[in-house]
């Protein structure tokens, strides 16, 4: 595969690099649970680094310094809307939409005729054609995966892509069930259109989304034989959360959604299969259709609470799932943060940006207990490494396979619940995959099972030291200073055990700071347990 170019955008017209040392000051000792904005004086290298990781996929030393110099308001404005960075709209002709198209009327007729006259040859042809198209579509879903992965690596608007990842986990739909790569692509676009937009719009969009209609079997749900799958998950997972509805609400909601199906790539409301009778949903009675069902749900206060809880969990700090811990079972500072965010969300009528702005500016977000304590999902690990260390991408197929081995096969979430996340990413074997895919990015050393030839694309990590040289000329030649600087860049801290091991590597390999030594540092750092956190 050809090497994709990594065109990452640094904030435009970077402010002068502050004269503050590259190694940041110690963390502020006070632990705030306040949702009030962080003071500019408390927003430094560590906070900017934290913001870049959580609201994106990490930053290079120059990006971190620039955001730090801007202060919290401008930095958060920038990550929410990177100004003149182009909003990239994917072209709709990127992928072939016809691979899995339904047979035309003529084709169906021909097939039926062949069956009637028991023409085994003709029938075999149809079968083979079907198998061929399924094979093509399997290839195309791989292309869609790599395309999205490349976008996340290259985008000048990382928060948009991170929100697409959030929605993909929230409205989880798997190719394995729907077997239509173009519909997966369309759904991915739906998430991108509403990435930082309005949750209500997205929920209305999802009941008309072919991939979702197929995944939760609503495409065959009809009057008198309602399939409850979509109605159940809309309430349980997508909007209200367990406990916010009754079994009867599900049954009635399923009736409202009957006839919501699709043809080819378009939503179709099949009036003949729709149950237009009276329903009672969440205390309201009427001849509701799917849109009315969504409207009733959006009037429930549970929506703000569930969605902001999930946003908080994704961006700020892990929370146990709702079914394990109700809101009142959470620690008090988190309860008050969640209340604050939920009220912002309902106040903005489900606009996403105000909630994220509130969170990213809050003192709570920068509470030391919330920093470097989130386990990177595999996508964050891989995309974040490429973006923050500026490594070559090397081979998107290998990166994509590694995501799968680490438990995050994009477009194939394990269930409608999405990925569990947190500690579930980590076990003794994913630990090795995580270490090994980083070794691959840094050196081209391929994971086992692939052609053993090392990639000849060399990685030059020395430009990462530019900020160190600017802040403290000469330090970039000191193995000890470089070790500390690299540790603060990669894991946000420089534990003495790690500094000691890194400098011992420098001692055994000649003692001067070379490209190879810095790669050696990075190999060791990225294999450290702490590197799994952000």
């Amino acid at each position: 595969m050809a090497e994709p170019t990594v065109a990452k955008t640094t904030p435009d017209s970077p402010a002068p690099i502050p004269s503050a040392p590259a190694a940041p000051a110690k963390r502020t000792p006070e632990r705030s649970s306040s949702m009030s904005p962080i003071a500019p004086k408390d927003f430094g290298y560590e906070q900017a680094r934290h913001l870049l990781w959580r609201a994106g996929f990490g930053g290079t030393p120059a990006q971190i310094q620039t955001l730090a110099s801007w202060g919290p308001q401008k930095a958060v404005d920038y990550v929410l809307d990177p100004g003149n960075a182009p909003e990239d709209k994917p072209r709709s002709d990127l992928f072939d939409k016809n691979i899995m198209r339904e047979p035309t009327a003529e084709e169906r007729k021909a097939q039926l005729a062949a069956r009637q006259r028991q023409d085994e040859d003709a029938l075999a042809k149809f079968r083979i054609d079907q198998q061929r198209r399924q094979g093509q579509d399997r290839q195309q879903i791989g292309e869609v995966q790599r395309w999205w992965l490349k976008r996340m690596i290259e985008t000048p608007r990382p928060l948009d892509e991170k929100m697409v990842l959030f929605w993909h986990g929230h409205f989880a739909t798997s190719y394995r069930t729907i077997e239509n790569s173009y519909h997966m692509f369309m759904q991915n676009e739906l998430f991108r259109r509403h990435a930082l937009g309005n949750f209500g719009d997205l929920l209305y969009g999802i009941i008309r989304d072919p991939a979702m209609l197929k995944y939760l079997n609503n495409d065959t749900s009809r009057k008198g034989h309602a399939n409850e799958n979509l109605a159940r998950e809309i309430m349980e997972l997508f909007s209200l959360g367990i406990g916010g509805y009754s079994e009867n609400d599900i049954k009635e909601g399923a009736r409202a959604l009957t006839g919501y199906t699709f043809k080819d790539d378009d939503f179709v409301f099949d009036k003949n299969n729709h149950d237009a009778g009276s329903k009672t949903i969440l205390g309201k009675t009427g001849t509701f259709d799917g849109e009315a069902f969504v409207k009733i749900i959006l009037e429930q206060p549970g929506v703000s609470r569930l969605i902001t809880r999930k946003l908080y969990h994704f961006f700020c700090a892990e929370l146990p799932p709702l079914e394990r811990a109700g809101y009142d079972q959470l620690p008090a500072p988190q309860q008050s943060a969640l209340r604050d965010l939920a009220s912002t969300f309902s106040g903005s009528r489900y606009a996403i940006k105000p909630v994220l702005r509130r969170l990213f500016l809050s003192q709570h977000f920068y509470d030391p207990r919330n920093m470097n304590e989130q386990i990177k999902c595999p996508v964050e690990l891989v995309v974040g490494a490429v973006r923050s260390l500026d490594t070559p991408v090397r081979d998107l197929s290998i990166l994509n396979d590694a995501l799968d081995l680490m438990g995050q096969n994009l477009l194939f979430p394990p269930s409608v619940k999405g990925w569990d996340g947190g500690r579930s990413w980590i076990n003794t074997s994913t630990m090795f995959v995580r270490q090994n895919i980083l070794a691959f990015l840094l050196t081209g050393k391929k994971p086992r099972g692939y052609d053993a030839n090392a990639s000849d694309m060399n990685y030059d990590p020395l430009p990462l030291l530019d900020e160190l040289a600017k802040a403290s000329p000469g330090s970039e030649k000191d193995p000890g200073a470089v070790a500390e600087y690299m540790l603060r860049l990669t894991i946000g801290d420089a534990p003495s055990a790690a500094t000691k091991q890194l400098t011992s590597l420098a001692d055994t390999t000649g003692g001067s700071v070379t490209k190879e030594l810095v790669i050696g540092y990075l190999l060791l750092i990225t294999a450290m347990p702490e590197y799994q956190l952000c």
Binding site: N217, T220, S221, R222, H225, N227, E228, N229, I242, E318, E323, N372, E373, Q374, I375, L405, M406, P414, S415, K417, D420, R423, S424, I426, N427, T428, S429, M431, F432, V433, Q435, N436, A439, L442, T443, G444, K445, P447, R448, G449, A454, N458, A497, A498, Q501, L502, S504, L505, T509, G510, E516, L517, G520, L523, L524, A527, M528, P529, E530, L533
Partner: protein
């Protein structure tokens, strides 16, 4: 120092100082405590099994994910209501594999391998297994089965079993570990470790394929080796009482180092019999290899997914039938392997799914989430036959089967009669054990 073209160097000697760790703090994985002797044996004498040893009993759990349609697995072909409710996907009487000593009950057409095992006395079927007030959410119901609790908030039931063995405590108690009694953590084949195996102190080992089970950076430059191992063994310094994600990662990194050589060596052995190429076959083949290598692990966990057949599940042939064929063929190969090893008497296998499916098929040629379903137990030690009666197909609860046997009674039987553990301690309540083991 050239990081790109260094020749690989010989791998580090196994354990690398780990043998001295057995007496340190409880944060050390149980793996370390008891396994030094095993590993020494493996390294010194190569892989060996210990045929005929039955005081070291093993449980293998097969999870059928998605909600297996029990009615089309163990088929009540003697009940008219079955055919009425399933005009499209019902299995014709002539296509059912009828079971002896089980009136009107048979297996799905594609399960010939299990029929054979049944005839050879290796299969026990517990009918109508479920729990009160059933939950039809995949996740909740799976958690209920894995925790053995109706509210599904606690640790996994097998994690609690290992805790109670190694550390003298079970549900709700705290106790001090006794390293001398430490047992091996359970092993799950798969990307994630199932909740069932998560104990308070005992954490499972899990991996998808054994070749990916080491750091490739070791081959890049020799000078990286020592710092790497130093940094990845900091977990042994312990961090008692603290359980941040960083502590968790530290412990897992240490675990990974210890398990790596041991397991790769076991799985590299060629199996004694061929296994089917499907996902479950591959997993059971690995389990068979680890049992043969005499790992002291007592609990293994494998998973076959895809049973959420809301649409187009098929009848005697088709999607559901393919899954059942994979299941049956893999189990048969597994027991052939164990028998060839001389280990079959030591290994009990249990299969379950989070729920069965509705009695009536839906408009999409599939079935929606239901309630009770049969469980299988495999091995030469089981009571051959069908336990319990088939739930009524006419006396239903809103279109769903009423369960007759609580799944925790099946667990209790396995704990008491097979693992010789105190089921009350593990399950937190007394359940009347289902007697599925001979001479139990």
């Amino acid at each position: 120092m050239d990081l790109h073209n260094s020749p690989a160097f010989t791998r580090r000697k196994f354990l690398y100082g780990g043998l001295t760790l057995a007496s340190t703090a409880w944060t050390i994985p149980a793996f370390l405590g008891s396994s030094a002797d095993v590993m020494a044996g493996m390294l010194g004498q190569g892989l060996s099994s210990t045929p005929g040893v039955d005081d070291n009993r093993i449980l293998v759990v097969v999870q059928l994910g998605g909600g297996n349609d029990g009615l089309n697995t163990v088929i009540p072909y003697g009940m008219d209501a079955y055919y009425k409710a399933r005009s499209g996907i019902g299995i014709k009487q002539t296509e059912v594999l009828k079971l002896t000593e089980a009136d009107g009950i048979g297996l799905h057409t594609r399960m010939t391998a299990l029929k054979e095992l049944y005839d050879n006395g290796l299969v026990s079927i517990v009918q109508g297994v479920g729990y009160p007030n059933p939950d039809r959410s995949h996740f909740k119901s799976m958690d209920i089965w894995q925790t053995a609790e109706r509210d599904a908030t606690g640790d996994g039931w097998l994690g609690r079993y290992v805790d109670s063995e190694c550390c003298g405590y079970g549900k709700g108690e705290s106790g001090k570990p006794e390293p001398a009694k430490a047992v091996e953590p359970p092993i799950a084949i798969g990307r994630t470790a199932p909740l069932a195996l998560q104990g308070r102190s005992s954490k499972p080992v899990s991996f998808e394929s054994a070749e990916l089970f080491r750091w490739s950076g070791e081959d890049i430059h020799e000078a990286l080796r020592e710092p790497y191992h130093a940094l990845n063994r900091r977990g042994q310094d312990g961090s008692a009482g603290s359980d941040t994600n960083a502590d968790f990662l530290m412990r897992t990194a240490l675990d990974a180092q210890i398990s790596s050589d041991k397991i790769r060596k076991a799985v590299a052995q060629k199996s004694l019999v061929p296994y089917p190429g499907n996902e479950l076959g591959r997993q059971l083949q690995m389990v068979g290899a680890m049992i043969r290598a005499d790992l002291k692990t007592r609990v293994y966990y494998v998973t076959l997914g895809g049973f959420d057949t809301h649409a187009g599940q098929g009848g005697a042939q088709g999607r559901h039938g393919n899954l059942l064929a994979n299941f049956a063929d893999s189990i048969k190969a597994f027991y052939a392997d164990l028998k060839a090893q001389g280990n079959d008497q030591r290994v009990l296998t249990m299969s379950f799914s989070e729920f069965g499916r509705r009695v009536a098929q839906n408009a999409s040629g599939g079935t929606d989430h239901g309630t009770a379903a049969p469980m299988f137990l495999f091995g030469p030690m089981v009571r051959r036959g069908v336990i319990g009666s088939h739930p009524s197909l006419t006396d239903l609860d809103q279109g769903d089967l009423k369960y007759l046997i609580d799944f925790r009674s099946v667990y209790a039987g396995i704990l008491e009669q097979w693992l010789q553990a105190d089921s009350k301690k593990v399950l937190g309540a007394t359940y009347k054990p289902v007697v599925a083991i001979r001479n139990g």
